[in-house]
């Protein structure tokens, strides 16, 4: 479903600020795989995600999605295959538009946008059914401006908008990091439900090791642009946070640098 072949990316090459963001990444995901990526700040997690989304071009290597070489596809073309939820809840929705209008935009990801018809009764009904699955009452507020929703509600809506059109790949970029703990729990639960229901191939970046262990069937730990540790479904089952920290120490010979990662246990 997703294949990365020998990806390299260096920022500011040939300057004193040169930084190797991705160093020979080769990975493969099968349909339905759900990988969580952890690592300290600057490990290359976000770069990798941007590489998948098409916001960044690799220096070398190529990206295959659903049997197609998409390396040179521009972001908006690639977005046909990709659903994405950002860290900032404000980024995934248009605040001045109503809930149903936002849903309409996400529906346009897979189908052409009509010049002659708007939101029909049928699509509205469909939206309502999808919103019901969130169980936060948004189905009764189709005509509310999204700007009036809380951060958690907006993120839940973003998540739904990214998933209900069944993308080939779902990218989650620390999508709970900006929320308070109770809202985090809600979003994690929704993520689990939505991904399971549609068997989405998912890549999730997170700072929280517990989250990374709890969700998904695979785990990658990144540092300095490389994947330094991987766990498959079996290994992941009895993986604990101390295991991960030890693993990091073993490979790198140093403690995990990010305080944030430690604080989150």
């Amino acid at each position: 479903m997703l294949q990365l072949n020998n990806i390299y990316k260096t920022f500011y090459p040939n300057t004193p600020d040169e930084r190797r963001a991705l160093n020979n990444i080769s990975q493969k995901l099968s349909p339905g795989d759900f990988v969580t990526i952890i690592g300290s700040n600057g490990a290359g997690k976000s770069t990798l995600l941007n590489m998948l989304a098409g916001t960044l071009l690799p220096d070398e290597g190529n990206v295959w999605i659903d049997g197609k070489d998409v390396t040179s596809w521009p972001e908006e073309k690639r977005a046909k295959l990709i659903g994405r939820v950002f860290q900032n809840p404000l980024m995934g929705t248009a605040p001045g538009m109503t809930i149903e209008e936002n849903m309409m935009i996400s529906l346009g990801r897979t189908q052409n946008r009509s010049l002659f018809s708007g939101i029909t009764k049928k699509t509205r009904h469909q939206f309502r059914e999808h919103l019901q699955t969130l169980e936060i009452g948004l189905e009764n507020r189709l005509n509310s401006k999204v700007g009036l929703l809380s951060g958690g509600e907006r993120q839940a809506l973003s998540l739904l908008m990214a998933t209900f059109t069944e993308p080939k790949i779902l990218l989650l970029d620390e999508h709970t990091a900006a929320l308070d703990p109770s809202k985090q729990e809600l979003i994690i639960k929704l993520t689990k439900d939505l991904v399971e229901k549609q068997q989405l191939t998912t890549v999730m970046v997170t700072h929280q090791m517990e989250q990374a262990i709890e969700l998904g069937n695979r785990l990658w730990m990144m540092d300095e642009g490389s994947i330094i540790f991987e766990a498959n479904e079996e290994q992941k089952q009895d993986l604990t946070v101390p295991d991960l920290l030890n693993e990091f120490e073993k490979v790198r010979g140093k403690r995990m640098t990010s305080d944030k990662a430690l604080l989150m246990k």
């Binding site: 972001e75 690639r78 977005a79 605040p95 538009m97 935009i105 346009g108 009509s114 010049l115 018809s117």
Partner: protein, 336 residues
């Protein structure tokens, strides 16, 4: 006085189409587009040259609007493909259009007094149908026949044209493409992440906006009976004034209401204009200053009012809290 107000309604309706164009760029796409000053004249220039050349006024008017569409698309491309800041892209296009307009017209001023324009055509049909006699009846009933306008044809025909434009625009803005256009102005990166070529939408939106502006210019030159290369100076500010006055006085969240508000805003602006001209100490040339002042106050006042209101509320609540505390203190003391 009253006839001046009828004039204000007439020109207000014609300029309303321009204001709707400005609404698309300024409010929907969040793109302060100065192309308007140029494209308004471009529409008038193309139309007047074609009418003088003997074309049908209807074809000439549509051609004028089409010229505006092209101008808007170029501004859109300058911004999206050329990565030029929106304001600068508009200014560049405005300057370029000044020369282009002169080239189109061949001279700074084209009189059309003896030509067949859209308005002479409508006027003729109107007189043949004798509709004025029908429309004057309610005025006679009310006994204010002397206050009736000399003819209704401009108001009625423009109302039909403006409402048609409004209806089409309302319809378009609620189609899937229209929703995407509005969302592009609201959160571009989000729309992009749902596989939309936002550059295309911005470019076409700018084209649509300037097509309306040029259509308005095409109608104005026919209404005035002449085209002038300086007709568009300050047009963007007039458009902004109309949009903002409309929003403040009549605005609501819904698209249908917003477009109506913009049209009414344009008429109110023209009425203010007409009244200001009748005040003795003001001259016609002061109008640009007055327009600027209207826009500034419409932009500043709502914010300031809200803030001062919030401040008043806060002070009130503090005073209440203080009183409460003092009372509490007294009680406390007495309890001792």
């Amino acid at each position: 006085m009253v006839s001046a107000l009828y004039g204000a309604v007439e020109s207000g309706l014609i300029y309303a189409i321009m204001a709707l164009g400005v609404y698309i760029s300024f409010r929907i796409l969040d793109f302060p587009d100065l192309t308007v000053d140029g494209s308004f004249v471009t529409g008038g220039a193309v139309t007047s040259v074609m009418i003088v050349g003997g074309s049908s006024p209807i074809v000439a008017t549509l051609a004028g609007a089409f010229a505006g569409l092209l101008a808007g698309i170029i501004t859109g491309l300058l911004h999206t493909k050329g990565n030029i800041n929106p304001l600068l892209a508009g200014i560049l296009m405005m300057i370029a259009l000044y020369s282009i307009n002169l080239r189109i017209m061949g001279q700074p001023n084209i009189p059309m007094l003896n030509e067949t324009t859209l308005f002479t055509m409508i006027s003729q049909t109107w007189t043949n149908l004798a509709l004025d006699q029908v429309l004057i009846v309610p005025f006679k009933w009310l006994g204010i026949a002397s206050y009736a306008p000399s003819t209704f044809y401009v108001i009625v025909s423009m109302m039909i044209i403006v409402l048609t434009v409004k209806k089409l625009l309302d319809f378009f803005l609620r189609t899937e493409a229209g929703i995407t256009l509005r969302a592009t102005g609201d959160n571009q990166s989000m729309v992009k992440s749902f596989s939309t070529n936002t550059n295309l939408y911005i470019t076409l939106g700018m084209g649509l906006s300037n097509a309306l502006v040029a259509l308005s210019g095409a109608l104005i030159v026919q209404f005035n009976g002449f085209a002038d290369v300086n007709l568009g100076v300050g047009m963007i500010i007039i458009g902004l004034a109309s949009v903002i006055i409309g929003e403040v006085l009549f605005g609501k969240d819904k698209i249908v209401r917003m477009t109506l508000a913009v049209i009414l805003g344009s008429i109110v602006y023209r009425a203010i204009y007409a009244l200001a001209l009748r005040v003795d100490f003001l001259e016609a040339s002061d109008m640009k200053l007055i327009t600027a002042l209207i826009v500034i106050s419409a932009l500043v006042l709502p914010n300031t009012l809200e803030k001062s209101k919030a401040k008043r509320e806060f002070k009130k609540s503090q005073r209440r809290a203080l009183n409460h505390n003092q009372e509490g203190g007294v009680q406390h003391a007495s309890a001792k």
